[in-house]
């Protein structure tokens, strides 16, 4: 029995309990709070140890051939993501008000699935847990989305088909990986065994590139990598608030986690083969520049946030494309930072929609006067996603940029480095759309827009928690980096 199993099981059991009739709010809140504490303690324990390699491992064999077992284990990356998941889950569940129990159940399932995906070390279960988390996402968009039934069903279908297709490609890639790296006579799904085999008998670069590309397409469409992104914006804009928070904040990170955790260690040369790298750079520039412009064009807050979330994925992919230790750690920090900040923004956005009934910029204005606390919280999220130093996103972004310049020769710029410079322009663009949004919603005379007051303090707590996380890890990014002492 490992503590990680408790962490995975707790939300799922809570969901079961609510389904069986336990009081939804109290149960889910208690379970998530407890889970957050356990994750925190575990993280501190891990940091207290050497903070390298897998810890808290435990394995329950299920099948002998192919060798399949329910194996858990965590290193710094998984713990950071587990922390992200529990934080966002707590905030998402806390901010639910006057909703049927299915909101709580689905939040718990999404969070539990994500935790399972992040904390298991068996490729089969990593995949399966992610799929488990996707199902409630689709259902909630289709059943309780913020749009006309026909439209929300269409959006849910679009997301389902996209993510389903992405998952299929991913499955093919994973199967390929398992076949290539199993070694010996038995197939194995154990990530550690696969990694060891990959170290022992690395594939030829050309083959690594092919497999990596398949995995990139699979994982990438789960992360809304350009051009497989068009599900994301409508899905987030339509999804109920807790689902938008959890999916954009946590579940979307699964694809990136998979790339860092599965694809890169097994296929270290994959992203560096020229055609793959160029393709990846082009796609991530699509994310940053194209989606940046699309975001500038948005006229509604939910549109802006949803598109900006797609755009910011480009920076994380940039970290993966750079592939150096600094850049990869930066990518992990940015995953954490983006998860917290976008969950904060979507949470506040949902609250605004509940109170005001609309998110059109031309109907809003001057909210800062009567809702100052709300404004400050929103500012934390907005400025975090702009990449203001002192909030976590900056640390991640700067590490990615720096990591891309580690092998720089004066006077010779590689494609990667040109991409970084173009990506830096994206930082300007994100300031443009975020400040426009902020200006339109909060600045101006209070008479120019709809009226709204601050939520009660207890309802502010989840957002305060997220904002504080941004501030603390933003001023002290070494808190996160100390969890990743060994090279990724």
């Amino acid at each position: 029995m490992s503590v990680l199993e408790i962490i995975i099981a707790l939300p799922l059991l809570a969901a079961l309990a609510i389904w069986l009739g336990a009081p939804a709010h109290a149960t889910s809140l208690g379970a998530t709070l407890l889970n957050l504490l356990i994750v925190l303690v575990t993280t501190v324990q891990y940091a207290g140890k050497a903070a390298t390699g897998l810890a808290f491992t435990y394995s329950r064999p299920i099948l002998d051939n192919p060798s399949l077992s329910f194996a858990v284990g965590a290193d710094g990356v998984s713990l950071i993501l587990a922390l992200l998941t529990t934080l966002v889950m707590l905030a998402a569940i806390w901010q639910i008000q006057d909703r049927p129990a299915i909101f709580y159940v689905s939040s718990l399932l999404i969070g539990g699935g994500a935790l399972g995906a992040f904390l298991t070390t068996d490729v089969f279960f990593i995949y399966a847990f992610h799929e488990l988390a996707l199902i409630p996402t689709f259902l909630m968009i289709a059943l309780h989305g913020r749009a006309e039934p026909a439209q929300r069903k269409a959006v849910a279908w679009k997301a389902t088909i996209y993510l389903g297709a992405g998952s299929l490609v991913l499955l093919a890639g994973l199967a390929w990986v398992v076949l290539e790296f199993s070694g010996g006579s038995k197939l194995t799904f154990d990530l550690e065994a696969l990694r060891n085999q990959a170290k022992l008998t690395p594939l030829a670069d050309a083959k690594q590139a092919q497999i990596f590309f398949v995995l990139l397409l699979g994982f990438g469409s789960l992360v809304s990598l350009f051009p497989f992104h068009s599900w994301a914006a409508p899905a987030y804009a339509t999804a109920p608030t807790p689902v938008a928070m959890l999916h954009s904040g946590v579940l979307k990170k699964f694809g990136l986690y998979g790339l860092i955790r599965i694809a890169l260690p097994l296929l270290p040369q994959g992203p560096h083969v020229e055609w793959v790298q160029n393709a990846l750079l082009l796609m991530l520039l699509g994310n940053i520049l194209v989606m940046g412009l699309v975001t500038i064009h948005a006229h509604r807050l939910d549109d802006t946030l949803a598109n900006s979330s797609v755009m910011h994925m480009g920076y994380i992919f940039l970290g993966i494309a750079a592939g150096s230790d600094i850049a990869l750690k930066g990518a992990v920090v940015l995953m954490f930072a983006h998860g917290i900040s976008i969950a904060l923004l979507f949470g506040l956005c949902g609250r605004m929609r509940n109170q005001l009934g609309t998110l059109e910029y031309n109907k809003l204005g001057g909210l800062a006067t009567h809702a100052p606390a709300f404004t400050v919280l929103f500012a934390f999220g907005a400025f975090a996603s702009i990449g203001l130093p002192g909030l976590t996103n900056f640390a991640g972004e700067v590490m990615i940029f720096v990591g891309s310049f580690t092998d720089f020769k004066a006077g010779v710029m590689s494609n990667l480095q040109w991409t970084v410079i173009l990506a830096l322009w994206g930082v300007v663009m994100s300031a443009v759309y975020m400040l426009r949004a902020y200006r339109n919603i909060f600045h101006g005379s209070p008479t120019t827009g709809l009226f709204m007051i601050d939520p009660a303090f207890s309802q502010r707590v989840p957002f305060i928690m997220l904002a504080t996380t941004l501030l603390v890890t933003g001023c002290c990014p070494w808190l996160l980096l100390n969890l990743m002492k060994s090279a990724l």
Partner: protein, 628 residues
Amino acid sequence: MPASIILLLPFFSALVILLGHRQLKGAAVLISVGSSIIAFLASLVFLATDDDNKLLLPFIDVAHFHAGIDVLIDKQSRGMMFIVSFIGMLVHIFSLGYMKDDEAKPRFFGALSLFMFSMTGIVLAGNLIMMFIFWELVGLSSYLLIGHWYQKASAAEACKKAFLTNRIGDFGFMIGILLLLGANAGNVNLLDLKTAFESGPLRPEAPGYSAGFTTVAALCIFLGAVGKSAQFPLHVWLPDAMEGPTPVSALIHAATMVAAGVYMLVRVSFLVAASPLAAEIIAGIGCITALMAALMATQQNDIKRVLAYSTLSQLGYMVMAVGAVAMAAKHGHGPEAPDPGHPAMFHLYTHAFFKAMLFLGSGAVIYACHHEQDIWKMGGLRKHMPVTFYTFAIGTAALMGFPWLTSGFYSKEAVLDAAFNSGWRVLFIGGAVTAALTAFYMTRLLIVAFMGKPRTDSAHHAQEAPMVMILPLTILAIFSIFSAWDGFANSLQALKPSHINAPGEGHTVLIASLIALIAGAGGAIFLYRGKDKDPVSIKLFANKFYFDEIYAVIVRVCQDRVAWIVTALERVFVDGIIARLPSAIVARLGAATRMLQGGHLQGYTFLLGGGVIAVIYLVVFVLPRMGN
């Protein structure tokens, strides 16, 4: 120790005010003002500390990339620290009076503390990453303070504009940092970079040296300064920034933050010196800014805008001096012995005092005239507000460079000296013309606002400002006169160049600046004495060379229109090819196969018959042959 007090005290002050400004109410103000006073005292102690470069707080520490909050203490930072904390303290005190009736006082003082924290960070920064961090944070505090009266649409737009324009500068700054970081193996510590450029792998004799790279890196870093110090072509945000409360304009948009760009350039002067081309471009941009802003200032009617354009112009002076010094060193016109002083820093130092004073003085005027800012609606204030008038007059004299008496004279001479020695005569001529224009518009301002008769009721009923506002004005007025004296300048570590008006050069510079002063001031007296409305009207200057309009078009075309097109293309192509095309194909196939299942019994029978025939055909004719 004093360094960490000066740095962290305002941070905690800002944090406390952010967390509890509802509970604290008036106490928030006290916390902020108190922290600024303590920081000022600490900066006095700091003046006596030794040179040092030590790590204060960790930040990022991965592989060979170390970016911490590390403090570089040397003469530059000690002197700058004094300016920042001294003027910061005075502005805090002035704001006690100016913002007395403001509802959002705690927010104002919280942001002011945040600014003090970030500005201190820039001053103390020992590496470029830390510089960038606080660079952005001053941008944030400037955003918050310009947008203090965010209910006003103009203020809301102005703070957004300021932040975004600075972002463009920071884009270049970040690229520059990355280039240097890549070239110097992940190390952007200022001292290490200096060593690398002077004797390390980046020196011109080193293998693999690329002059183009050095120039590009220097220009990228300079772009950061262009944004923050509002140089042409990114100068448009500074005049609009006057939407903020006047004390803020004095502290941030005149004395300290906008000078951060100059300070940063002086910090990386080894980089500017390494690239002659970059030095020329920097000097040129500075000269253009100085001249252009002075021209615009001559036709402004808003008292704060006149001062804002004058700030722009003086910042242009400083930037020009940075470039000119580097150029002079290359041409061999520089002083033989390395001069510890720097004309740009020296001008920054004197300018900080008198410009802050002018802004605070204008604040006192605006306060007395019930927030009237149009100088043509003032007049005759000399009698009603004598202290303000005399301090304002001293500030004006200093800004014009009134010879021998005022501090501004010496620093301006230093700048013109540097321009004279740069090898580009045009820099010197531009500087002299700017000096004449400065004298012109400042005299105009003084005559129209303070002399003559009151033109409106609010000017008629104006009263002298309260003590908390007078006191900082007086102190700053004293500094405006004496700060260039050797005793002051040396104890405040002001980087005063040792060779101002060195006898060997003849008196070209001195004579030129005297002529400029007399011509400018005389022209203004001749034109504006006793006038009730502006006798001169030059649309081009009044409308700031139409920069705002041009930029508005650029933003609309290059950004919003492109965004619109890209969005449309994204919908049509990406969504079309990736999502709608497959779905259309699937739908078409589905429709085709549906036709087969129309529910017509006879159709089924026909298919059945066809199927049977096909099977028989296969079994009888095809399969036996394949068997063989």
